[in-house]
């Protein structure tokens, strides 16, 4: 790892094996505890309905968080994911409710999915180019779209709430395969693809190398700039997809609300799942576990009548605890 730690600064390095176990499997332990708590306390927790609700909620966070993890693996961060979701989510209904789509339903539906995704990928190119070609710090580069992306979405829709009924499009959000929500399968498929990308391709090798030590990666011939742009493009594309799903679930599109605060949830899921903000790691399935934990905590609190604002404080505590536990896993 590139992090240089002075030995005196981390006295807890030589932890006992019990503490070491907690550090290694902290998120799994947390998940088990939350599930146990819910089974005992939360009414109607063990039901298919609850299961489906949680799957569809966790799917959007997971998709965005996995993309965020790739960016974090390069040592960057993407604040614009929520705004990109809003942009994609606002575009889709505009397209499939247009006259063109009424005349040619199949073409219209294809365009309604393809165009927002292409726009989202374009956002990724913009972010990635600023970061890697112009050397702008990631937080600032993505701040631009964070500020203006949602604005563009609202300009496009005049700030109106778009409601619609389009069976084919809504499949993205409400469809089921083998009795399980379509998004659940989608997340699984995406996770496998991204895992393969990270661990079995040259791109993945370079991605982790860039995050681990950028200078070393450059010296060994990694195309650092292209790798970084690639990470932002994938992240933005996945955010666009998540935006489409949110819109499909609700059968409505409100540019002001789609993906609001999603960047925080995605970052939280990534760090709870074991991503290091310094870069160099992309634990895809760990991040999905992180997303599940974040979602379950929220569900647990809401289902037990705890106010939303208290849930915020709880989420803060979980983030601190998760990162603190991970401090020992850096080596």
């Amino acid at each position: 790892m590139s992090t240089t730690e002075l030995p005196l600064a981390s006295p807890s390095r030589t932890y006992a094996s019990g503490a070491g176990f907690v550090r290694q499997h902290g998120s799994l332990i947390a998940l088990a505890l939350i599930l146990l708590f819910n089974v005992m306390v939360t009414p109607n927790f063990v039901s298919l309905q609850t299961f489906f609700v949680n799957i569809s909620q966790v799917a959007t966070i997971s998709i965005v968080a996995v993309g965020m993890t790739l960016v974090i693996a390069t040592g960057g961060i993407d604040l614009s994911v929520g705004a990109v979701m809003a942009l994609a989510g606002a575009l889709a209904p505009l397209i499939f409710t247009s006259e063109f789509a009424q005349a040619y339903p199949v073409l219209g539906l294809t365009a309604a999915i393809a165009v927002p995704l292409v726009v989202a990928l374009g956002c990724g190119v913009f972010n990635g180019s600023l970061v890697s070609l112009l050397n702008v710090q990631p937080i600032i580069a993505t701040l631009i779209l964070f500020i203006s992306g949602r604005g563009i979405a609202q300009v496009l829709t005049n700030g109106n709430l778009q409601t619609f009924s389009n069976k084919a499009f809504s499949y993205l959000g409400t469809g089921k395969i083998l009795g399980l929500p379509f998004q659940g399968w989608l997340v699984l498929a995406l996770a496998i693809v991204i895992w393969w990308l990270v661990h079995r391709t040259l791109f993945g090798r370079y991605l982790l190398a860039v995050g681990g030590n950028e200078t070393a990666a450059r010296l060994t011939g990694a195309p650092v700039k292209r790798i970084k742009i690639g990470a932002y493009v994938i992240c933005a594309g996945l955010a666009g997809l998540a935006g489409l799903i949110v819109v499909a679930i609700n059968s409505a599109s409100d540019a002001a609300r789609i993906g609001n605060l999603m960047e925080l949830d995605a970052i939280a899921a990534a760090v709870v799942g074991g991503a290091l903000l310094q870069g160099g790691r992309a634990p895809v399935f760990g991040v999905i576990l992180g997303a599940v934990i974040i979602q379950l905590v929220r569900y647990t609190l809401l289902a037990n009548g705890v106010a939303d604002e208290v849930a915020l404080v709880a989420k803060a505590g979980i983030i601190i605890l998760a990162v603190y536990i991970q401090q020992g896993r850096k080596d």
Partner: protein
């Protein structure tokens, strides 16, 4: 350093390319406003503009110190919302009680940030993200998610709503005092040197025997205190404690600091340029409002967001031409 005998403008500009850009842009926007709008330079616009931006200048100043050490403070907006509620509850006792209470609350949250970062070795981005959520939740809990009216009978509202000598709002006078104090602290005190050294290279600072941890604790406490004071202004100027305010303020503050030429990786930056950055971003808003008022274009709030983002983009483009060479890319070191 500059050769005193022969002032070479080109060399000066090259040496200060990050900060000269913001001053030139500020001057050009002011000139544009003065030429285009009748009331732009009027006392009313002048004082209300400064009054409104006092809060943003304050949190930008605190943020500047944090960023100079190579850190970041995402909690400032929530802290301001939290302390605005605290100040509103304390307003019946007058400004002499409410202001210290608000600032102290902010400092306490800042110290908590510092503890997470220094004591628990949690990256600043995550630590302050957590306190951002915590302070937001806290503000909603203690206020019941409602705005808390301030007591008009006390002298509390004078701070945010009235002007000294009919021109300078009290809030901006206080901000000016804070700014001068912080400028002296950064440029002319040993603590300021340590802040810059820590941002330049934390490891080197440690090896030289500088107290890195205490310095970090200090900058987060300072940032929290500035946000706390901003929260007092918020309650005073708008006549209510606002638990829902402050969303996105941290990003405005970061933008101000960066537009002012401070490096996000730390070590290089200036207080006056940070103020110029905050004023610049505020001025874009002010000019868009005038443009709306003229009715020449219908500039919705949505367009304003787009234009602000575009403006930030333009400033960044201008600056990246000045800052070249390899740089640290990670945000957390």
């Amino acid at each position: 350093m500059l050769d005193q005998s022969a002032f070479d403008l080109r060399r000066y500009l090259r040496g200060n390319s990050q900060t000269t850009g913001v001053w030139i842009a500020l001057a050009m926007l002011i000139l544009f406003g003065l030429l285009r709008y009748d009331n732009f330079g009027g006392a009313y616009n002048f004082s209300s503009f400064l009054n409104y931006n006092a809060m943003f200048i304050l949190i930008s100043l605190g943020m500047c110190f944090v960023i100079l050490t190579g850190g970041i403070d995402l909690s400032v907006g929530s802290v301001a919302a939290f302390t605005s509620v605290v100040a509103a509850y304390m307003s019946p006792y007058g400004i002499q009680v409410a202001l210290p209470c608000g600032v102290a609350t902010g400092v306490l949250i800042g110290v908590l940030n510092g503890f997470f970062i220094v004591g628990m070795r949690i990256p600043p981005f995550i630590a302050t993200l957590a306190t951002m959520l915590g302070a937001k939740g806290g503000a909603l809990i203690i206020s019941g998610a409602e705005t808390i009216a301030v007591d008009w009978g006390s002298n509390f509202t004078r701070l945010g709503m009235e002007s000294a000598f009919g021109l300078f709002p009290w809030a901006i006078l206080i901000v000016a005092g804070v700014a001068i104090a912080l400028w002296v602290l950064l440029e002319h005190s040993s603590l300021g040197r340590v802040v810059l050294a820590v941002g330049g290279s934390e490891d080197a600072s440690r090896l030289m025997g500088l107290d890195v941890d205490r310095t970090k604790l200090f900058v987060y406490a300072l940032s929290g205190g500035c946000a706390g004071l901003a929260g007092v202004f918020l309650a005073s100027g708008f006549g209510a404690g606002q638990p829902l305010e402050g969303v996105g303020w941290e990003l405005s503050a970061i933008a101000s600091v960066v537009v002012g030429g401070t490096l996000l990786t730390g070590g290089i930056g200036s207080i006056p340029a940070t103020i110029a950055g905050a004023l610049l971003l505020g001025l874009v808003f002010n000019i868009l409002n005038f443009e709306n008022g003229r009715g020449t274009i219908s500039m919705s709030a949505y367009w304003q967001m787009v234009i602000r983002g575009g403006f930030l983009f333009a400033v960044i483009l201008l600056q990246t031409r000045g800052i070249s060479g390899p740089r640290k890319t990670g945000m957390t070191q």
